[in-house]
Every structure is written in structure tokens, then in C-alpha cells.
């Protein structure tokens, strides 16, 4: 992966202020899809926060990722409303369909499967987010449709 090392524009947004570390990291992640080590080293020097301290912050927050994202990132919401409407069953179904556990990437880099505590679209429970788009009221049937659409999209490209 070719990483563009110019992150000064992001840092400048926050005046190189170390208290904005979480904002900086999330902007970096928006840009690259994850937090590349080289970029972290660069930030560490420029805002004078040690890498170990940054690691402490990164590992604390669930949204930060140290691996490049898969092509399709499937996030199954595990909020309460989703849970009582079958989110766990849906997750297990997707896990067995894709042969992936939550938190894993498929070896071909095509899928990553994640859970999230709640995306706040509870009235449409159970919800699934694929690459940022929210799909509501899921059943095995809609999941089959979603997954085959992803497969199809892949073939068409």
C-alpha cells in the first residue's frame, strides 16, 4: 500500500495540538481506512506524543484499526433493540456463510466482519452496515440478498 506521508494538513487542522489526538487519528483513519504505522510515527514526532502513549489511546477505542480495511466491511449491530430482534442469530448466520468470525478479515481481503455496540437506528432493528450504508429490518432472506449482491458487484467489476 502506498502511503502518502503528508499528514501536515490534518495536523494543521488542529494546530498540532496533542489534545486533539483522537480527532487526528480519526481523520487519518478516514483518509487511509486504517492507521498505518509510518503515519503514526510521523504524528508522534510532530505533536510530541510518544508512540507508546498513542498505542494506549488507540487500543482503548474500538473504532481505531491497525489493519487495512477489506473491500467490504460488514458490521452487524449488536444493540439491544437489534439483539431482541435477532442480531445474534444474524451474526452467526453471516459468520457461517462467510466462514469468518467477527473481528476477522477474509484471507482474500474481500470481507471483514465486525460488530458494533449500537448505531442508533434501533427502530429499524436488526441493522447491518456495509461500507457505511445502513440496512434495516434484516432477516436471513435480506442477508442472503445483500451478500449475493456483494458477490455480484465483485463479478461485474
Amino acid at each position: 500500500m502506498n502511503v502518502d506521508f503528508d499528514i501536515d494538513s490534518i495536523l494543521a487542522r488542529y494546530n498540532f495540538d496533542s489534545s486533539a489526538l483522537i480527532q487526528i487519528l480519526s481523520d487519518v483513519q478516514d483518509k487511509y481506512g486504517y492507521l498505518p504505522r509510518e503515519v503514526l510515527e510521523d504524528i508522534s514526532q510532530k505533536i510530541e506524543v510518544s508512540l507508546s502513549k498513542m498505542w494506549g489511546v488507540i487500543s482503548f477505542y474500538a473504532l481505531f484499526k491497525l489493519k487495512p480495511p477489506a473491500r467490504y466491511n460488514i458490521t452487524v449491530c449488536q444493540g439491544t433493540a437489534c439483539h431482541v430482534s435477532g442480531a445474534k442469530r444474524n451474526l452467526e448466520y453471516i459468520e457461517s456463510k462467510l466462514n469468518l468470525k467477527a473481528g476477522e478479515h477474509s484471507p482474500d481481503g474481500k470481507y471483514s466482519l465486525e460488530t458494533v455496540a449500537c448505531i442508533g437506528s434501533c427502530a429499524l432493528a436488526p441493522t447491518i452496515v456495509i461500507n457505511g450504508k445502513v440496512y434495516g429490518r434484516n432477516t436471513v432472506k435480506t442477508i442472503d440478498k445483500l451478500l449475493s449482491r456483494l458477490e455480484e458487484g465483485e463479478r461485474n467489476e
Binding site: V49, G86, A117, C118, C122, L124
Partner: protein, 646 residues
């Protein structure tokens, strides 16, 4: 003086523009996260396409926030010039053309009509409510306020959500926006603002219910105590809006920000003026991208109109707001953890006192208020403390906002006067349980709350009553559980959540919640003996008494409340190895009813773990030992021939 004239001018212009809107044809689409997930984006595209096809070009397309009737999303409203706004429900893209075509021809596709707005009410006194003329063809349509879902609601906090275009500051101004800030800054002293809020009886809507005015007073006085003769320099102070709505099952704050972002800004600015802060932060979950985007737009507009920045309304009050995004940590909703997170650190809590009002961000006095609290503030200043305190109960004034979800017919946003009973909320407003299922419990307060059984359904909602039952008001998640929810599994679910969200700083929470989860997992998999209940109860009480912060102290509530009200379900799991709700894998079986089965083989095709054996000739059977209870066969069977049995 110039600046205040300027304010009157732009307000008047905004009112004019908003009135003119009613002289034009408009199509309004519910464009909150829920609406978009339900398909609003596709509906919007179709609307644009259809208008182009029908060569209708004098239509304004507007996006609004979530009006709170989420089960009916996507909602598409049409308002023809000088006619009422008619709302169409569950609109599919393929239906758009017919609906628009008919509506513009003066006909209504009645079966798709959700309701009609006969007025655009304004809760703020001295502000005009817009009344629509109702032509003949509209008569007989249910009005928005007469819908069973709305009848018992009183919308103060949600006053603008779903009504205004959240990306248009004029819409907010036209409905009394920034009037309260103007009043505070030009006519009231900070102390008077605090007194007004104090006497209104407003309590923090984030869950704990601490009196807002008292909290502000602490921070206000923090300055006085430090002003000695040598230091005339004012202590720096901060105000923070807590929009880290981490409770799974809650989305009130998201909807509020998505639908009415300026009211949050106005409330926060008033708070800053009251305590003497010049800098504010809105701490918001990164999981809410749309809310963040709308806030950014609103902030920009507020700066452009000089409602933020230097010398607001020509006074010597300066204030600026910065958005700080969270990064996915539930504990950051706890105020001391939130403070650390804003400063770019790990979001770990610390013991209180000192309270943030005395020592918060960078050691300075800081007040942290929930979104709903802040949104309520402007109305109190405009309508008066007396007006506000006349609503609600002795214990808790005003209204409560809930996100009603789960197995309920009308899921969505609900705002009712405090003291409304759970029964009224769930059955009158929510329409009762979905399908023909039986009501079992209602869960309030998220992972810090508890489950309330049917026998206590007539409990009024206020801080004290819910606490007495072992639940809490919380920030407003209300999840209705039917007979198909297993209460032990629900307790296990919350403990899974807490165990993974525990920050790890204190032992009772870090270790205790994991041990409690292990016990619950034993019970739900049928591997426990009866004495586990005593251990579980004891452990829960220890965590409650000894954990460092609110997250840990309230974490055992889901266990304790289900043990209290649904103990028999625990005992069934342990002694009879039965899950009556048929949720816990292994404690029930899937069986094919041969009388209904048509041997189509769908179950075998969809089973992801090949637990269905047989063929189209011989019929099928399910080997439950291989089954992972994903429910795929049950859901996909065209004849509903698959049954769950104990």
C-alpha cells in the same frame, strides 16, 4: 446596538422566508439516519427523477430530521402551495410517481397517507403557530396530532425535529431560534439565568437527573471563590455537551442533533454565558456521522450569523464551540472519562469529588450537560420557569424523551410529560406489542437499567419511581420485550456488552463483570446448578457497591432486576434445561412438522452448517446437535413448517 438590530432583521427575514415557503409546492423527505436506512435516499432520487419526467419544476425538495415515527419510514410529505402538508408512509421508490402524480392532480393515494398537518405548532410562547387551510379533499384525513402515537405526547425537546430543515438556519430562526440566547445576553445576568433554570426544576436528562441549575451554580461560584484581590484574571471555564449516546437501544440525542442542531448550540451557549465559559465542546460519538455533519453545518451558520464568536449580539460575551468525536468507547459517556477523552487521552474515569464543575477539563471548572438538557434550556428561558415546572411531577419536572423500540408496533421517538405511565407509553403511544405476541417486560436505562415486568406497568416515569423498581430512567432507551425475549439471555447480553466496554481501571468492574458473564453463559447453555444464583446475586451486589464509576456501579442492574422479576426463567434454564422464549441455543429444538412440510428443501439449502438431513423424496429432519440456532430454516420455510419446541 447595531448587532441587536441585526438580529431583529435576520429573524424577521427568516420568518418572512418561512411563511413564503407555504406559498410554494414542497416535497419533504424524512432524512434522519433511520429514514435513510429505511430507503429515504432512494425515495429522494426517485422524487427528483419523477419531477423531471412530469416536467414539474416549481417544487422545493427539502430534507428534514426524524419526526419520530420510525416504523413508518421512509416518510415523504407533499405540501402544495397554501395547502396542508400531507405525509405518506412507508414509501417505496416505485410508488413515488403515482403518489406525486395524483397529489398534484388534486387526488390522494389514501392508503399511503400517514397523516396531515393541520398546523405547524410552536411550543414557544409569543411565536406564531402556522395554521393550514384545509380544502375539501383533505377533510377526514387524520391530523398529525390526533394520531394515537402522538395524542399523549408533549413535544418540548423535540419541538423542531421533523418540522424544520436542519441545514437551514432560517427555519430555526423562524421558530424562535436564538431568541433565548438573545434574551439571556441582553436582558439577564448570568445569575438570573441560573436562577431561572434552578426554579424550573430541570434535571439532567443524561440519566442521573442532577438538577441542572445547581450544577451551573457550582461552576459559576467556582470563579468567585478564586477571585481574590491579587488575581482579577477570570478562571477559564468550559462547557461540554455530552452527545456520546452510547447506550445500545437509544437514539434520542442522535435524532435531536440530526433534526435540530441549532438548539443544541443555543443551549450550550446559554450555559456558557451562565457559568462564564468562553470555550465549549460537543463530544459526539463517531458512530453518528450524519449528526456530526449537520452539527458542522449548523456551527458554521452560527458563526456566520455572529451567534458564536466574539462580542455576540454586541455584548462582551465571547464563545466558541469545537466538535470532539469519540472513537467507540461506552465508558466515555461517564463525565470524568469524557473529560479525559476530550483531552486526547484514554477514556478512563476517575473518582469524584472533585466534580468536574469544580475541576474538569485541564483542571478548570467544567459543566457537562446532556443534549436533551441543553435543548430544553432555550424554551425554559422563553416560556419561563413557571411554565416548565407546571409540567411533570413533583419529583421530576418537564418531559421525558424516549426511544421506543423492540417488539413494539409504533417504534420511534416519544416525548411525554414526566409521570406518564409505562402503560400509556407502550400501549397507547406504542400501540402495544408487535404481532400477536404477549408483552413480557420493558427495559429502560440501557446497560445501567433494568427490566420492568407487566405487573408494574402502571408505574409513572420519573427519576424516583424507576429507581425504586431497580431500573433507571437513563438517557431514554426503552426496549419492549415480548414472550420471544429470554430474560436470562438479555441479562447475558448486557453483561457481554459491559464486560467488553469496561475500561479496566478498577477490579470490581474489570474482573467482576467477566465472572458474572461466565455465570450467565453457564446458565444460558444449561450447564449451571441452582446455587449459582446466590453467587451471581452476591457478585452483582459487590460490583454495585465497589466499582469506581457509574458504569460499573450500575452494570449489575440488568442482572439484579431480572433475578428479581423473572427468577423463574433462571430456574427453568438451570433445572429443566428449558428456555421458554426459545432463544438460548441448546435449550430448545427445531422440529419439522411433517403435516405442513412440502419437501421443498429450502431449509436444507439455507442451513449454513448442514444440520438438515434428508432429500426431496424422503423429507427432511434437523439434527439439533449440529444446529447453531441461526433461525435461517425457521425464517425461510415457505410453509412455516419448522417449529421450535422445548
Amino acid at each position: 446596538m447595531n448587532k441587536s438590530n441585526h438580529f431583529h432583521d435576520i429573524t424577521e427575514e427568516a420568518i418572512l422566508l418561512s411563511k413564503e415557503k407555504h406559498n410554494k409546492n414542497r416535497i419533504i423527505i424524512g432524512y434522519g439516519t433511520c429514514g435513510i436506512a429505511a430507503g429515504a435516499e432512494e425515495v429522494l432520487k426517485e422524487v427528483q427523477q419523477v419531477l423531471h419526467e412530469l416536467k414539474i419544476d416549481d417544487v422545493i425538495i427539502e430534507k428534514t430530521g426524524c419526526i419520530g415515527c420510525c416504523s413508518y419510514e421512509p416518510l415523504m410529505d407533499i405540501e402544495l402551495a397554501n395547502s396542508p402538508r400531507v405525509s405518506y408512509k412507508n414509501v417505496k421508490p416505485k410508488e413515488v410517481k403515482e403518489i406525486i402524480d395524483k397529489h398534484f392532480e388534486g387526488e390522494l393515494k389514501k392508503e399511503k397517507v400517514f397523516c396531515m398537518f393541520d398546523e405547524q405548532e410552536n411550543i414557544i410562547q409569543n411565536q406564531e403557530s402556522w395554521k393550514y387551510n384545509i380544502p375539501e379533499i383533505y377533510s377526514g384525513l387524520p391530523t398529525f396530532k390526533s394520531l394515537p402515537m402522538l395524542k399523549k405526547q408533549k413535544r418540548i425537546t423535540l419541538r423542531n425535529v421533523g418540522i424544520i430543515d436542519p441545514e437551514n438556519i432560517n427555519d430555526y430562526l423562524a421558530r424562535g431560534g436564538y431568541q433565548a440566547l438573545y434574551k439571556a445576553l441582553t436582558a439577564l445576568s448570568p445569575k438570573e439565568v441560573i436562577d431561572e433554570i434552578k426554579s424550573s426544576g430541570l434535571r439532567g436528562r443524561g440519566g442521573a437527573g442532577f438538577p441542572t441549575g445547581v450544577k451551573w451554580e457550582f461552576a459559576y461560584n467556582a470563579e468567585l471563590s478564586k477571585t481574590t484581590e491579587d488575581s482579577i484574571e477570570k478562571t477559564e471555564k468550559y462547557v461540554v455537551c455530552n452527545a456520546d449516546e452510547g447506550d445500545p437501544g437509544a437514539f434520542m440525542d442522535r435524532s435531536l442533533i440530526e433534526g435540530d442542531p441549532h438548539s443544541v448550540i443555543e443551549g450550550l451557549t446559554i450555559a456558557a454565558y451562565a457559568i462564564g465559559a468562553t470555550k465549549g465542546f460537543i463530544y459526539i460519538r463517531a458512530e453518528y456521522p450524519l449528526a456530526i455533519k449537520r452539527l458542522e453545518i449548523a456551527l458554521k451558520q452560527a458563526y456566520e450569523n455572529h451567534f458564536l464568536g466574539d462580542n455576540i449580539f454586541g455584548t462582551d460575551f465571547h464563545f466558541s464551540i469545537e466538535i470532539r468525536k469519540g472513537a467507540g468507547a461506552f465508558v466515555c459517556g461517564e463525565e470524568t472519562a469524557l473529560i479525559n477523552s476530550i483531552m486526547g487521552l484514554r477514556g478512563e474515569p476517575r473518582p469524584r469529588p472533585p466534580y468536574p464543575a469544580v475541576s474538569g477539563l485541564w483542571g478548570k471548572p467544567t459543566i457537562i450537560n446532556n443534549v436533551k438538557t441543553l435543548v430544553t434550556v432555550p424554551v425554559i428561558l422563553l416560556n419561563g420557569a413557571k411554565w416548565f415546572s407546571s409540567i411533570g411531577t413533583e419529583d421530576t419536572k418537564g418531559t421525558a424523551v424516549f426511544a421506543l423500540t423492540g417488539d413494539v408496533k409504533n417504534s420511534g421517538l416519544v416525548e411525554v410529560p414526566m409521570g406518564t405511565t409505562l402503560r400509556e407509553i407502550i400501549f397507547d403511544i406504542g400501540g402495544g406489542v408487535k404481532g400477536d405476541k404477549q408483552f413480557k417486560a420493558v427495559q429502560t436505562g440501557g446497560p445501567s437499567g433494568g427490566c420492568i415486568p407487566f405487573s408494574l406497568i402502571d408505574t409513572p416515569v420519573d427519576f424516583a419511581s424507576l429507581k425504586k423498581l431497580g431500573s433507571i430512567m437513563g438517557s431514554g432507551g426503552m426496549i419492549v420485550c415480548s414472550e420471544s425475549t429470554c430474560m436470562v439471555d438479555l441479562a447475558r447480553y448486557f453483561m457481554t456488552f459491559i464486560a467488553s466496554e469496561s475500561c479496566g481501571k478498577c477490579t470490581p468492574c474489570r474482573e467482576g463483570t467477566v465472572r458474572a458473564l461466565e455465570m450467565l453463559e453457564k446458565i444460558t447453555s444449561g450447564d449451571a446448578t441452582i446455587d449459582i444464583l446466590t453467587d451471581l446475586e452476591q457478585l452483582s451486589l459487590v460490583i454495585k457497591d465497589t466499582a469506581l464509576c457509574g458504569l460499573g456501579q450500575t452494570a449489575p442492574n440488568p442482572i439484579l432486576s431480572t433475578l428479581k422479576y423473572f427468577r423463574e426463567e433462571y430456574i427453568e434454564h438451570i433445572e429443566q434445561k428449558v428456555c421458554r422464549a426459545k432463544v438460548c441455543p441448546g435449550l430448545f429444538n427445531y422440529v419439522i412438522n411433517d403435516d405442513l412440510c412440502i419437501k421443498c428443501g429450502v431449509c436444507q439449502n439455507v442451513c449454513p452448517v448442514d444440520a438438515v438431513f434428508g432429500s426431496k423424496e424422503t423429507g427432511f429432519f434437523i439434527e439439533n446437535r449440529l444446529c447453531i440456532s441461526c433461525n435461517a430454516c425457521f425464517e425461510r420455510c415457505p410453509k412455516r413448517a419448522i417449529e421450535k419446541v422445548n
